[in-house]
């Protein structure tokens, strides 16, 4: 089923929230000091994306167009509040690190964007899939960004991962001994730098793919997120 494949590809790569749509820059830059924080933030956002997508889709025929934004915000903030409380209860340590940013998920433009562009026009099933794929794409992007910053910044990878995922995942935590770290990468400028270079790398891959497909057949469907 090509429709499903399209949605999956869009969320993970073609229309990735961070690298293509450039939405949700605040959590992207603010919470990616480490791969674990990025993962936690990504997962929380994914939960919100899926549930708010389903809710918006369910109510899409009864929401008046003129007040839709306000209604979306209401639905999203309900979900975000639930996620906030759930994380505080079950992932208390991580919540202490990300606490400030969890309530701010509600103003993540990516969620509003998917509600407006996708969920409000589609059936709940597709909206859930779209939310899930966008969320996974967002999570992966945040994890990569956090991983790069953490590795260069302090020479670790997935530090404190067991805090988020439980003791079984303690093996993920890597540490480079004797590395002094580049403080800049952990600080806000590092977020902008790493993001800029990652987006540039992606654009380069797309340009190469485009050149290849132009060589093969003219007019191949490439939806580069520029």
């Amino acid at each position: 089923m090509s429709e499903v494949r399209r949605v999956v590809r869009d969320g993970l790569w073609d229309n990735n929230v961070v690298f293509a749509q450039m939405l949700g820059m605040c959590p992207t830059l603010a919470t990616t000091g480490s791969a674990t924080n990025g993962l936690g933030m990504g997962l929380a956002t994914t939960v919100v994306l899926v549930s708010s997508g389903v809710l918006v889709s369910l109510f899409r025929n009864v929401i008046a167009r003129e007040v839709r934004i306000a209604i979306y915000v209401l639905l999203m903030s309900t979900v975000v509040t639930l996620v906030d409380m759930a994380m505080n209860a079950w992932l208390h340590e991580l919540h202490k690190v990300l606490g400030l940013f969890i309530p701010l998920i509600v103003v993540n433009c990516a969620i509003m964007g998917r509600a407006e562009a996708f969920a409000s026009k589609r059936a709940p099933g597709m909206a859930a899939l779209d939310g899930l794929m966008m969320g996974i794409g967002f999570t992966l992007a945040l994890m990569v960004l956090g991983g790069v910053r953490e590795a260069i910044g302090q020479g670790t990878l997935f530090a404190d991962a067991s805090m988020l995922l439980g003791q079984h995942f303690a093996f993920l935590e890597l540490r480079l001994e004797g590395y002094r770290g580049v403080l800049l990468m952990i600080l806000p400028p590092g977020g902008f730098l790493a993001l800029g270079f990652l987006v540039a790398a992606r654009q380069r891959m797309l340009a190469r793919a485009r050149a290849r497909s132009l060589g093969a057949s003219a007019g191949a469907g490439i939806t580069a997120g520029t």
């Binding site: 002094r180 403080l183 800049l184 990468m185």
Partner: protein, 338 residues
């Protein structure tokens, strides 16, 4: 009598940059004699790195490599980067700084003439934020042998601590923060000379000599150095007169840190600075004001670099708002019909 129009001799980038390098030499010589020859090693490292990076970036960008490398602009950037860094930073820090300046600040924004920020100042700021401890090791005058300096630069003596004294600005800040000492009491300390930091003040004199040479050669105009020195001297005099116990004298502010290097070589950067006469005055004055504020009230001992970057951001606005009226037009006559 000679009448207009005059034919001007074209000034090549290479000649300008060559004269700037020449003008830096008195300061560098003073630096090498008083503090130690470590600075020369780092100058060599940064020059090689910067020229290499310049050639590589030009090659990647498919530009003619030989012409642009030969214009010496990368060498000027490299020298300025090194002269803002402490002279005994490890070699890789110099390499990082030169790479940031050339690759990120200069070429990612389009190469010579296109960068909105001063490359040397971005290199300084990014390195002091990334490696605050290493970037604060300023050696006191004449206390480190060449061997020690070389070992520090090349990484043979990673863990020598306590060989570096506080700089004049650092010592003054710490002394004043303790709350019990006045400026005069702090200035009795060993880090201080007649004007500013002991030894460092003569390097400042070297930079002034080079700056005057550049002024005489008309490589730089008087606006920026004058506004920078004038505002820094003016505001420090004002507060010094109000409360000499808490604020250092204008002479101290001018002779300490990178004030003179900045006045003649940094703020006068023709690419990232303002271009109109009034814009230049505001630009350099703004830097001096921010530098003084950070020195006295900020978290870092030296604020010139941050001042330069903040004012770099204002340059488009300054240039737009200070366009001189075209000859024959009145300022308030729109369209200039009368």
């Amino acid at each position: 009598m000679i009448h207009s129009p005059y034919v001007r001799k074209a000034v090549s980038v290479q000649r300008t940059m060559g004269l700037v390098l020449l003008a830096l030499i008195p300061g560098i010589v003073a630096h090498a004699l008083l503090i130690g020859p470590g600075v020369l090693v780092n100058l060599a490292i940064s020059t090689i790195t910067a020229v290499g990076a310049e050639a590589l970036m030009l090659h990647l960008r498919k530009r003619p490599v030989a012409i642009a490398v030969g214009d010496l602009s990368a060498v000027v950037t490299a020298w300025l980067v090194t002269l803002c860094f402490p002279p005994i930073v490890p070699w890789w820090l110099t390499v990082c700084g030169a790479l940031v300046a050339i690759v990120a600040v200069k070429h990612l924004y389009g190469g010579l003439g296109q960068n909105p920020f001063n490359p040397a100042m971005i290199a300084y700021c990014s390195m002091i934020v990334a490696f605050p401890a290493l970037m604060s090791q300023w050696p006191p005058a004449g206390q480190l042998s060449f061997d020690t300096q070389l070992a520090l630069i090349l990484g043979g003596a990673r863990d020598i601590d306590g060989i570096t004294g506080a700089t004049a600005l650092d010592a003054l800040r710490t002394g004043l923060r303790s709350g019990t000492q006045t400026v005069d009491a702090v200035l009795q300390g060993s880090a201080f000379g007649a004007l500013g930091g002991r030894g460092w003040e003569w390097i400042s004199v070297g930079y002034v000599a080079g700056g005057l040479f550049l002024l005489a050669k008309r490589i730089i105009t008087w606006h920026m150095p004058l506004a920078f020195i004038g505002v820094l001297a003016g505001i420090s005099t004002l507060f010094w007169l109000l409360d000499p116990g808490r604020f250092a004298s204008p002479l101290f502010h001018l002779a300490s840190g990178g004030a003179m290097l900045a006045a003649f070589f940094i703020v006068t950067d023709p690419v990232s600075g303002a271009t109109t006469p009034r814009g230049k005055l505001l630009f350099a004055g703004g830097i001096a004001l921010i530098a003084w504020l950070i020195r006295n009230f900020g978290a870092y001992p030296e604020g010139i670099a941050f001042g330069v970057l903040l004012m770099n951001m204002c340059v488009p606005l300054l240039d737009m708002k200070t366009q001189p009226p075209v000859f024959g037009h009145h300022k308030d006559a729109k369209g200039g019909g009368k």
